[in-house]
Symmetry: C2
Subunit: 216 residues, 2 copies
């Protein structure tokens, strides 16, 4: 080693490259007047059903693109595509989150100027997706009452890095003895002002309030 | 660059170091005749409740240690500790899985020779923990009927890297219209021979069969 040796901070470099790509994505969305939303959350919290419920109400008003991230399969993209929405599936193989460069590659093959609204459904887990900017307007984290009472307490960073919390499956709360108010209090302890919207993607309850909160 | 330049495969190196630590853990467990189990699965699948149900039945026969991995909090360790079991909490900060070196560090402070059975509850997600050996006898993945019907299809690698699948919360299957047989068929498509045990950690159903399958 001499003092001419280049020292590379891999972590900074990886995150830096992602931030650069995220800025390019954000500029592209802005140029075309597109609202882009990153929908994060664990497996089975109902991210896809939530996007379906939103598309049901919004697809008459807006031309929508859905980008779905998963390790394998095209199940989620196929479900949303059945609502007449254009979809793109990104299969990450072993990666536990989407990153901004994957979104750039996906957008390369698309005439993005056609769309006004882009839903990005991230890979299903409550940890990794929060660490990576995609260049969206809002990062929305979906939690559900079937995940047990501790998912917010255990994942404060995910809440801190999100712009909105959606509590899904509230129609099941009473039957399984889940205390939604106590979960909201957990969120408030991490972030006093983040919007928290309770919905049931299955029954449609709360979807109008969510659309209002998204401020399209 | 000259041909004396050392090229480092970071990925191989990171995984290699983990494998080395895993082998040391495995040797330590073997030396003391300890059965060690890595319990993996998403947030809210009931990993902690499952360990509690197992401790309820096994703590009279075996001296048990539980090592709990989470980003933050000691909630899970505290719950299991209430059953008279010794517990250690590892808080990973932002890391989405335990690795073998974290287990080694945890074991440094413990007289491991006292124990016959070690439960390691991994960080809650269905993706990352499967990629890292901890040096255990069995990697057990817990899925639950509240995670929706696609969690196996979407995570074939996690199934491939596990030694046993536990389907939890089967007592809720009928009420929420979940088809357990179809989920088992999804597992069989990925791995024709992996043991699949259906349980309800809440009611205790299937826990005896699980204990038998673990072959203590």
């Amino acid at each position: 080693m001499t003092d001419r040796t280049l020292s590379i901070d891999i972590r900074k470099d990886l995150f830096g490259a992602n931030e650069d790509a995220a800025e390019l994505n954000a500029a592209l969305f802005k140029k075309h007047g597109i609202t882009a939303l990153d929908i994060m959350g664990s497996v089975g919290t109902g991210k896809t059903q939530l996007i379906e419920a939103l598309c049901e109400k919004l697809s008459k008003r807006y031309k929508i693109l859905m980008i779905a991230g998963d390790l394998a399969t095209t199940i989620d993209a196929d479900r949303v595509s059945a609502h007449g929405v254009d979809t793109v599936q990104i299969n990450t193989g072993t990666a536990c989150h989407l990153d901004a460069r994957m979104i750039r590659v996906a957008l390369n093959d698309i005439d993005i100027s056609k769309y006004q609204l882009v839903f990005i459904e991230n890979v299903g887990n409550l940890i990794c997706p929060a660490g990576y900017s995609l260049g969206v307007d809002k990062k929305i984290v979906v939690v559900s009452v079937t995940e047990g009472p501790y998912m917010v307490k255990k994942h404060p960073l995910t809440i801190k890095r999100s712009d909105m919390v959606v509590i899904n499956k509230v129609d099941l709360a009473e039957a399984i003895g889940f205390d939604v108010e106590s979960l909201i209090a957990d969120v408030r302890e991490v972030d006093a002002t983040i919007p928290v919207i309770s919905v049931s993607a299955r029954t449609g309850d709360g979807i109008d309030q969510l659309i209002e909160a998204i401020e399209l």
